[in-house]
Amino acid sequence: MAKNLVIFLTLISFLPLLCNSFSSENPSDRKILVLVDDLGIKSSHSIFFKSLQTRGFELDFKLADDPKLTLKRYGTYLYDGLVLFSPSTKRLGGSLDSAAVLEFVDAGHDLILTADSSASDLIRDIATECGVDFDEDSEAMVIDHTSYAVSATDGDHTLIASDDFIKSDVILGSKKIEAPVLFQGIGHSLSSANSLGIKVLSASPAAYSANPNAKLSNPPSLTGAAISLVSVVQARNNARVVISGSLDLFSNRLFKSAVQKAGTSIKHEKSGNEQFATELSKWVFHERGHLKAVNVRHHRVGETDEPAIYRINDEVEYSVEIYEWSGTSWVPYNSNDVQLQFYMMSPYVLKNLSTDKKGLYSTIFKVPDVYGVFQFKVEYQRLGFTSLSLSKQIPVRPYRHNEYERFIPTAFPYYGASFSTMAGFFVFTIVYLYHK
């Protein structure tokens, strides 16, 4: 009996080692639910799924209308990420609906959402909630007569070769994407109220969104560079969402396809789709651009203990360590634009933190000649990175009465004058009383 108990306790103590799911210490997603219209997508988009699996993700393929579909059991989420490769699904199966998907994102999980020329209202609803509006015309596709992909048949120019990427190493990787990305699908626009959405792949200025099989009678509602082909949203809770107007962008067919952009003579053997999709999935599943700040410390210069209160005009040293998640480990984050604020209603001190290239950021500054309740604040928001928001409250007191300087040499004449008037008073009293 006792032996069994020992074995049980040993097994229990190993349990934490088995849990390697998403956490603040290990922010990459591990388990991903992939919802598809039909299981053929599993093979027609296998290169994309394969790249996820080789990076250690566990993919769970389900039909979008599977009646047993659920994201959550007993109040905890079963998955860390969701891939919606089901553009034409009208209703999701099981307990899943657009509200449940949004709640999943609100809980800090990640989402890849793809639409197609046949995008359902459900997909449009979820996109709208993320601040992205797909073209309302259900037949519309993005057409571009200047930067389409050259093919044997002339076609209707809906297969676009776009190379208008966002210039961000953190979202699309440090390696430049040489070949254009092939895109066939519907366009969307970011609503102007959405400050969190970013266009990753934009259409060329000559593109427009219309039904390719009908005569264009009215001016198209979406035109030019306002059309976004692929967008990302990073929510305030650092959940990341990718919204693509094309499911085909992730398909094996376009991954392997050769591409020649109209009007250029360069023919690329392979389109940029694979690199684009892989790098974007690294970003959306937190393998890149996820920052953490630890060991926030502050103390007077020359001391090591953190005081409970500072005095005006103290010299203070503030330090914080910032690391970036590389997908497998935390590596030091190097940047010269992290700023510290010493804040009371407004920043009294705003200073760049200097880094030692090993992740430690520090600075020394003088507490202003104002007393009150201050905060040490670091607000770090950069494109593609998770936002850092640190604040620590600290009171600042004035000098105590015995902390002022005394016996200042400059003031000696005043001391002398005061004492001489006292002596004068004493002498005057004697002389006045005894002068007769």
Binding site: Y404, R406, I408, T410, A411, P413, Y414, Y415, A417, S418, S420, T421, M422, G424, F425, F428, T429, V431, Y432, L433, H435
Partner: protein, 121 residues
């Protein structure tokens, strides 16, 4: 020109006469009032020296400067008050005994110097 010279000489003469009469009448002032006047002059002189010093080196220990100057000014004011009260020609205070006036003066000075010492820094 001639006229103005005569005017100047006559003004100088007037001033001289005035100064002379002031001095001759001041000689008649009782000795105790003369002692008080000397004391007031000493206080004013000390205050002026400090103000000049402050103009040169700046107002840094401002509390010290204030207490130094105010001790002189306060001393002068109190001494003038005493002079008014003990002056025999002043009928306003004829009911007030000079001993009582002097006791008031000493008490006020003690309070003044207590404050000055605390403010001196």
């Amino acid at each position: 020109m001639v006229k103005s010279t005569t005017t100047t000489s006559s003004t100088a003469k007037d001033a001289q006469a005035l100064f002379h009469s002031l001095r001759s009448s001041y000689v008649a002032t009782p000795t105790n009032l003369k002692i008080i006047d000397l004391y007031v002059l000493f206080a004013i002189f000390t205050a002026l020296i400090q103000i000049c010093y402050m103009a040169i080196v700046g107002s840094f220990p401002f509390n010290s400067f204030l207490s130094g100057v105010l001790s002189c000014v306060g001393t002068a004011v109190l001494a003038v008050c005493l002079r008014i009260q003990v002056n025999k020609e002043n009928k306003e205070f004829k009911d007030l005994a000079p001993e009582r006036a002097f006791a008031d003066f000493v008490l006020c000075n003690l309070v003044l110097h207590l404050v000055i010492m605390n403010f001196l820094g």
